[in-house]
């Protein structure tokens, strides 16, 4: 049998059954496209999370009240008020492996300028905060030591806040007085744009003020602080710095060696692992959804192939009666399946990439298309297409021609 003849036969057969060919292809397209898009979204957020965590500074150390790491990470554990300002001061004074340290207090507040108002996060910081997080100021200047000591009514704002209060991101708000919890505060600087973090949180939606300004003027309780942010002298010494901080605070909090500590110290890389496992869960979730769509697509392919078996068995009977050999019939069906899988697979890849790009463009969600997802989805769908094209054909080709002709 000449291969080209078989190819011609297969092509004619596909062309003759356009709807069936299209429906089969649709299964493959959906399967491939969804896997590629889903995994691109998962991988994209994974990489951005890693990147944004790395951008926090690889030397950073976070100290949260309480022992629940996640509660600490989210900064929402108000019930665990165990950290005090003197803890931060003690770390600065006694831990020689720590380079910078700042206590943090934060609260969500309404800020008002003229007729406009906006809800945002106010964070009270020491100046070390800017160094630990490598923040820069594009307009105006940062807090001075006197600002810090005197709890001056001054603040730095992110560009989202500028936009929402003044209607224009590029407006120069230096010198404007805004009201935070009805306290008038002067804007002395604008932070350079940071963009969104991985959870879609706008990092520019922020107001920074001197530590005492927030703690004394805006917080109900002034005894405790929210958390402490520090940085190690070098990346290699971060772990030792964590030990130093832990033993210092243990001593200060008078915790017996046998008791559990009432605070949590995390390094940036530990955090990155925590977030990493969160994104891994998310990727697995997306992959499962994608896997289900692949399965549904596969079942679609299978159904179409099996439903057409009756018709095709008779066709095989006719072909065998006029001289087709078993392998001619098999090759024909395999070529048909390959054509469908390849064309459907390629369309699926294109659609998947388009969908991913659309999510990136319109949803503002980062996407990274991995070759693995392409290979995986393409391989799986074509395998299903091939199998369900080949298997019924093999059964039919094994029949006596007369039985295939009579098949109902």
């Amino acid at each position: 049998m000449k291969f080209f003849n078989l190819f011609r036969i297969a092509y004619r057969s596909l062309n003759r059954n356009k709807l069936r060919s299209f429906l089969t292809m649709l299964g493959i397209i959906i399967g491939v496209a969804s896997v590629i898009a889903m995994l691109a979204i998962g991988e994209g957020s994974n990489q951005t999370i890693q990147k944004s965590i790395a951008s926090l500074g690889t030397n950073s150390i976070y100290i949260f009240p309480g022992t629940n790491a996640n509660g600490g990470v989210r900064g929402g554990a108000g019930s665990n008020q165990t950290l005090k300002l003197e803890d931060a001061d003690a770390i600065a004074a006694h831990c020689d492996l720590v380079k910078y340290v700042t206590p943090l207090v934060q609260r969500k507040s309404q800020i008002i300028f003229g007729a406009k108002n906006w809800n945002t996060m106010i964070i009270g910081i020491r100046n070390d905060y800017m160094l630990i997080r490598s923040l820069s100021i594009i307009k105006g200047s940062g807090f001075t030591e006197p600002d810090q000591r005197s709890a001056a009514k001054v603040c730095l704002v992110g560009v989202t806040v500028v936009f929402n209060l003044f209607g224009d991101e590029n407006y120069n708000p230096i010198g404007e007085i805004i009201r935070i919890n009805s306290i008038p505060v002067k804007i002395i600087g604008v932070l350079s744009k940071m963009g969104q973090n991985t959870f879609g949180q706008d990092q520019d939606d922020i107001v920074l003020a001197p530590f005492y300004t927030v703690q004394k003027r805006m917080m109900i309780s002034t005894d405790h602080i929210g958390s402490i942010l520090a940085s190690g002298k070098s990346e290699l010494q971060v772990v030792d710095a964590v030990d130093q901080i832990t033993s210092l605070l243990r001593e200060k909090h008078k915790i017996a060696p046998s008791d559990d500590i009432d605070f949590t110290v995390r390094t940036q890389s530990e955090l990155s692992n925590i977030f990493g496992s969160i994104t891994k869960v998310m990727t697995i979730l997306l992959a499962s959804i994608a896997g289900i769509s692949l399965l549904v697509g596969g079942i679609g392919i299978m159904n179409i192939m099996l439903v057409s078996v009756t018709e095709r068995t008779r066709e095989i009977g006719i072909r065998m009666a006029i001289g087709a050999k078993g392998r001619d019939v098999l090759f024909q069906f395999v070529i048909e399946s390959i054509l469908i899988s390849v064309v459907g697979g390629v369309i699926g890849i294109v659609v998947g990439i388009l969908v991913a790009e659309m999510v990136a463009t319109f949803g503002g969600w980062p996407v990274v298309i991995t070759p693995l997802s392409i290979i995986l989805s393409f391989g799986f769908s074509s395998a299903i297409g091939l199998f369900f094209g080949w298997y019924p054909a093999r059964k039919a080709a094994a029949l006596n021609p007369i039985d295939a002709l009579r098949y109902e």
Binding site: M1, K2, F4, N5, R8, I9, R12, R16, N17, E311, R314, E315, G317, I318, R319, M320, A321, I322, G323, A324, K325, G326, R327, D328, N400, P401, I402, D403, L405
Partner: protein
């Protein structure tokens, strides 16, 4: 010489179907010789084993036991691929239900056996298909789909498909079973023409007047041959069709 040459020889051919616990003896030790150039009509009541016999000598089915020689050579020892080649190059089939590929033009249907024949070059394929369709009077319907053709036309496409590979024998199982008598005669006309050109024809029919177009009749009953005789009063399709034409002319003038 060719007149007396054996084409098909079967000896003690039996076929038994097992349906549940019941054994159906469809063929009971059939022995028969069909020579080249013959035009045989196989007759018999429904269920007498005509189709079973045709399918076996057409290599579409296997007998339960017996011997089958074609041109003096054993057929039953051949493997599936060899049988497929045999069907492709030496046999042509015409079925009662036409069995054309749906949604496939007349020409593509006729080209099909050529696509499965390695010896036919692509260049001559189209030419041969058109030639075969022309010889059955369908030169003007090459691109027609089966559902655009009448029953008689579909059967002619099937005949063109059967003869496109220049077979030794055409096997037709009730080829006129779904056709009216005038169309049936036209089909018989084609068969008689092909037979005159040297193609052996084996045809199953239960209609006595159709059997009259053959050169000899074989009668089956309960899986056995009960009669095998030449046709004495053979009908010629061209003449029968003329008669019908004059009849209808008379009818329309009166």
């Amino acid at each position: 010489m060719s007149e007396r040459e054996n084409l098909i020889t079967v000896r003690d051919l039996t076929k038994t179907y097992q349906t549940g616990s019941v054994e159906v003896f469809a063929l009971k030790a059939i022995s028969l010789t069909i020579n080249k150039g013959e035009f045989v009509a196989i007759m018999g009541a429904s269920g007498s084993g005509k189709s079973t016999f045709m399918n076996i000598i057409g290599c579409l089915d296997n007998p339960t036991s017996g011997e089958y020689l074609m041109e003096g050579k054993d057929v039953l020892t051949r493997d599936k691929d060899e049988l497929a080649e045999l069907r492709n190059s030496k046999l042509g089939f015409v079925f009662q239900s036409f069995n054309l590929l749906p949604r496939t033009s007349a020409q593509e249907n006729v080209e099909l056996p050529l696509l499965y024949n390695n010896k036919v070059e692509a260049a001559v394929r189209e030419h041969k298909a058109i030639e075969a369709l022309t010889s059955v009077g369908l030169a003007d319907r090459l691109g027609a789909m089966p559902n655009e053709l009448s029953g008689g036309q579909q059967q002619r496409v099937a005949i063109a498909r059967a003869l496109v590979n220049a077979p030794l024998v055409i096997m037709a199982d009730e080829p006129t079973g779904n056709l009216d008598s005038k169309t049936s005669y036209e089909i018989m006309g084609i068969f008689q023409k092909l037979n005159d050109e040297g193609i052996t024809i084996v045809m199953v029919t239960h209609e006595p007047d159709i059997a009259q177009f053959a050169k000899s009749n074989i009668v089956f009953k309960d899986g056995k041959i009960i009669a095998n005789h030449p046709v004495t009063d053979r009908k010629i399709a061209m003449e029968e069709l003329k008669k019908i034409a004059t009849l209808t002319d008379e009818n329309s003038t009166t």
